[in-house]
């Protein structure tokens, strides 16, 4: 299988404090990986570092994304190359409407691929389809980005953006946190809809419950800034039953 993302021996600091300590991971195109781990293991740090957040200083290692050095790209270059980060805490941006951001983001990606700007009618049709899929009211499209949204609405909005932007690699950082059971199912349906041989998905989560609805190809346990165990979907169920200490002590 073609490699989508290859991380080798990645070390990184934030505010001179090590957060990743020799992390290695290979994600093939079309695969769904779940990264689990206790609080402070480095899961969110990994997602944000891959998206290009400036707070992180890479001290060693490499990240190869579709044959390119990911760490050499700016935040927007990564996004336009097909990397999408679903935020754990999506920020509110009053005054920038969801629909405006979606269109600007889609056109930025199309421009990078040498395509013309999206047709307005086609764009609205596409957005409305996915809005309906995520069981969101169309009125949300014209509100400020995440402005006044509940926690569940923010997470649905992240998945809506992912569906519209059609990334090659989606990093979904604790997409299940703060969701009630109905919202969890909707979010999971959205993610499952996005599964494709042309798209890799990384689910960062604490809990196995999300994986009841999205069955991953691989499960990894991240602790102390590196992958300490990998397995198939059964590993998540084992973690749920035995806790993280079982992995850390073994």
């Amino acid at each position: 299988m073609t490699d989508c993302l290859t991380i080798e021996n990645l070390h990184a600091n934030v505010a001179q404090k090590p957060v990743l300590n020799g992390l290695s991971l290979r994600i093939g195109l079309g695969e769904v990986h779940a990264i689990m781990g206790p609080n402070g293991a480095g899961k969110s740090s990994l997602s944000q570092l891959l998206a290009g957040k400036a707070d992180y200083e890479v001290t060693a290692g490499s990240v190869n994304y579709l044959g390119r050095d990911l760490l050499g790209l700016s935040i927007e270059e990564r996004a336009c190359a097909g990397l999408f980060l679903g935020f754990q805490y999506p920020i509110e941006i009053p005054g920038v409407s969801n629909v405006y951001l979606l269109k600007a983001a889609l056109n930025a990606r199309r421009k990078q691929r040498g395509l013309p700007e999206v047709d307005a009618f086609d764009f609205l049709t596409l957005v409305k389809q996915h809005t309906s899929r995520m069981k969101m009211d169309e009125a949300f499209l014209h509100r400020g980005v995440n402005e006044g949204f509940s926690g569940g609405e923010k997470k649905r909005n992240e998945i809506l953006q992912m569906l519209v932007l059609e990334p090659t690699l989606a990093l979904l950082d604790e997409t299940d946190s703060g969701l009630d059971i109905d919202a969890l199912k909707v979010v999971a349906q959205g993610v499952n809809y996005a599964r494709s041989p042309e798209r890799s998905i990384v689910l960062v989560t604490h809990y196995q419950r999300l994986l009841d609805y999205i069955v991953p190809d691989y499960v990894h346990v991240l602790a102390n800034g590196k992958i300490v165990r990998s397995g198939d979907a059964s590993l998540a169920r084992e973690l749920e039953a035995k806790g993280y200490d079982w992995v850390l002590e073994s």
């Binding site: 996004a79 920038v96 953006q161 932007l165």
Partner: protein, 405 residues
Amino acid sequence: MTTRTQAAAQFLTQLRHTQHDPQHWVNLIWPKDKMTGFETLAKRDLQRAFSAARIEPAASAATDVFESLLAALPNPILIDVARATAQELVIEAGISIKTRTEGTVKPRLSSEPSPCLSADEHLSLTLECVQPTVVDITIAPDRAVPAPIVVLNHHHQTRIDINVGARSRCTLVQLNHADAAVNLAQTVLHLHENSVVDSIVVNAHGATTLNLDHHIAEVHHNATLQQFQLDAAGWINRTRRDVHLLGAEASANVRALLAVSDQRHVHHYTQAVHHVKHTHSSQLTRGLGFENGKGSDQSVVHIKPFAAQSASTQSSRHLLIDESAQIHARPILEIFNHDVKASHGATVGSLDPQMAFYLRSRGLSQAQAQLLLQRAFWHQALPSTLTNELSSFIDDCLFRSVSAS
């Protein structure tokens, strides 16, 4: 093209006609005991120009502003103040214009100076002119004017009195453009009972103009004023707005957007005076500070002793795009009755890097993300009733400011 040095020289010439010592005028405009940090800097800047310092001005974009404003307003009722004569001219049924002269132009309610003003400061607002001219624009009672009324004002020493008749309703768009060295124009807006006015004031003065304009609104019983002012042009702007709520249930929502840069300094002063009970005001100002820009926003709410059960809100928020910019926010409440509601808030800060990261993670460039966030910020000042076309016009004016900075 007029340089600032030449502009200062013209200003001095004008001042000589007023029989005042120039330094006396400068002190009147910026009284020492009332100066904010910004005003100290603005005064220094002015005096430096007087001393023939070489400061290159930016090109005036007023013509472009005119054209884009008219493009944003399909089929407006156009009132060019320059067309006014002593004989009444009917522009449309129920809308007329004429001129008259007064010995001295003085603000209304001058017999009741605000306790927050010194005598000198109050005097500075009389805006004495060599040949004071008043242009009267009258909208008859019981008129619902469907089209926007655009008032084009090139005069720099004129007072415009706009009378909106009882129970009338209209949208007024006033475009002020003075390319003179100093603009002392004054606008007095009278809203008679039960009238409703949406007012948009765009100050598009020349790049070398010292702008000292003054807007006064008198809002009578059950009348509603919504006013938005854009200060995105001119050199040194010391703009003042006074809103007097004179009848029960009178209401004023006063908004302003200012942009300051190396080429443009703004001191913005707004005062809402609640004269009687059951009156309502809200003031909202948003400011953008670009490289070396200096500005201040002083918002005053004055609730008089008999103005019980009145309500007022103030919000003064400013975004410093560049570290070298300075904007001072001074919300002031002067309340002389216990049975009122009044709130205020003021912030000065920079763009949130988390927001920029979020937008860039979606593919927008850093420049796009910053501009989008700036635009989102300044849109907070726009009235919700603004048409998309006028909103785009305001965007254009601000983009001009951004690109010129």
